[in-house]
């Protein structure tokens, strides 16, 4: 009898414990889903607020895109709200809802603080609609500048990376090359590439080729040094293994040294990318009569601060995009490495 009763009790206990756990998980998951939906709804409200803030007060200046921007923000807010209400808030959009909310609030405050009440001094802090106006009205010039910058950057960076990589492999591999190149590298390398600007401007036939040279120089130094250190730090055990398996020197370089050094090479490419951006902008401001650096300079000369901000935003998107592209390439090539730097 007693065994029977305990036997019947245990599953009952287990069941009630299971119910409690289920209830607990419900009460836990419910606020989370509400919070997720709420941040989507709030984001929609924030963008509605931004649209309203454009229309509620009169503009202090003469901006032509205020009305269009308000409509666009209402449409955007409507999109967010529909997606939230009908559960179509896809994973990507849902995780970005807090950011959308913050950005909507930021735009609202910015709008009020500049266009409506001028709490921030006006020519220096243009309102959002002024920047939108640059994109809608001055896009041909901005686009041409962007194309010019990308072209200069691509050619200079590709040249610098290729030459730096080859030099690095040669120094790392050959003692004789190392003997001659290493001191030159130590002497010239640490010099900021922009210090070469006056020299480059009279040495090269055009300011464009001079800037290409400077960008290549800024890229080449870190790529050389890191490729070299990567090749030099390859474990001898790898060479021993390859040699006993019948590898010739060319195999040792191409199939052992270079793949083993690739993680280092990518650090060099990343550093080179950063310093080449700096050189690009300086070169365009000083010599080349095209590109986003030149556009910045030109906008500042005309006190066209909205144009300056617009160019800065494009520039930041380009730089960030270039780095993302580099990291994606690295992640594809170095799948064998775990836990590397994320971007």
């Amino acid at each position: 009898m007693s065994t029977y009763s305990t036997g019947s009790k245990t599953p009952a206990l287990a069941r009630s414990a299971g119910d409690k756990a289920a209830a607990a998980s419900h009460s836990l998951s419910f606020p989370i889903s509400v919070a997720k939906n709420a941040s989507g709804a709030l984001a929609g409200l924030a963008w509605t607020g931004f649209g309203l803030s454009c229309l509620l007060w009169q503009d202090l200046g003469d901006w032509s895109r205020t009305h269009d921007m308000a409509i666009a923000s209402f449409v955007f807010a409507g999109g967010i709200l529909t997606a939230t209400l009908f559960g179509r808030f896809g994973g990507g959009l849902q995780s970005r809802a807090p950011w959308l909310l913050a950005f909507g609030l930021f735009l609202t405050i910015w709008e009020i603080a500049t266009a409506k009440f001028a709490w921030l001094p006006l020519p220096f802090f243009p309102p959002p609609q002024a920047i939108v106006e640059v994109y809608t009205d001055d896009w041909p010039k901005l686009l041409a500048s962007t194309v010019a910058s990308v072209k200069l950057q691509l050619v200079g960076y590709a040249l610098g990376a290729a030459i730096g990589f080859l030099t690095g492999v040669l120094i790392g591999w050959s003692r004789a090359v190392g003997y001659w190149v290493h001191p030159a590298l130590r002497f010239i390398g640490p010099l900021p590439a922009t210090a070469w600007l006056p020299f480059a401007l009279f040495m090269f036939p055009s300011s464009w080729s001079a800037s290409t040279f400077l960008i290549a120089l800024a890229t080449g130094f870190p790529v050389t040094v890191l490729t070299w250190s990567g090749v030099a730090s390859v474990s001898n055990a790898y060479y021993d293994v390859a040699r006993t398996l019948g590898a010739k020197p060319s195999f040792l370089v191409l199939k052992v040294a270079i793949p083993a050094a690739l993680p280092h090479v990518f650090v060099g490419l990343f550093m080179g990318l950063g310093s080449s951006f700096a050189v690009l902008v300086v070169a365009e401001m000083m010599g080349v009569k095209a590109g986003l650096g030149w556009y910045l300079q030109w906008a500042q000369g005309w006190a066209a601060y909205a144009n300056m901000y617009a160019a800065l935003i494009v520039m930041s998107l380009l730089c960030s995009g270039a780095i993302t592209l580099l990291f994606r390439t690295r992640d594809r090539l170095l799948v064998w490495q775990k836990g590397v730097v994320k971007w």
Binding site: D240, A242, T244, L245, F251, A260
Partner: protein, 265 residues
Amino acid sequence: MVAVAIAETDRPTAVGASLNVEGVSHAFDIDGAALPVLNDVSFNVRPGEFVALLGPSGCGKSTLLRLVAGLEPPRSGALFEDGRPIKGPFPSRVVVFQDPTLFPWRTVWKNVALGLEAQGVLKSQRPRVDAALDLVGLSAFRNAYPHQLSGGMAQRVALARALVNNPRILILDEPLGKLDSLTRISMQAEIAALWQRSGFTTLMVTHDVEEAVFMANRVIVFSDRPALIKANMTVDRPFPRHRGDPKLAELRSNILGLLGLDANW
């Protein structure tokens, strides 16, 4: 006549080579001073024999293996594979090191294919790579990267990478030294069986006396640095061997005595 010719070419190419080590001395330069590691070492290995080299840590056994592999030339003396002097590395003598030293950027399959690729014959010989992976039981892991393997699996891949070249002399430098004891015991039997089947000559450095007497035909015991040959013992027991064999136990305690460790037994 024709039949004989076919039989000749059909014979497996991985037949063991003989190895002669004649009066080999070697030294390392450490801070300008020469540190002798091998002192007038001579011994012969018959084709297809399994010889284990035993000795105290740091006595120069691994250096001897590097000389056999041709990775370094000896300071004096000479080494011969099938009567031809050893002048450099050649895929007929392949080393398996204590660390698997798999190339981390290559998949298991591509690691095993390394030798054939380096010799420029991979395109026509791809099935050999699959066969070598089958041999060590890792076909399912052909697309895995080395960091995804356990220590024992990695060492099996290293073994397959060596065997795919049909070596005539397999050089094992403490191949099981870093494995856990269970994996080690099973791999001792596996390697011995592989050697039995394929007929290559095997030269193995080990610290493990039991491993040496369990796997080898002959055990050569070295003294402390600079290494001299202290004893050269034949292990005259048939394969497959049994670990509890009293003859092996007796041999083991003899060898431990030679190494000055008999007090513990």
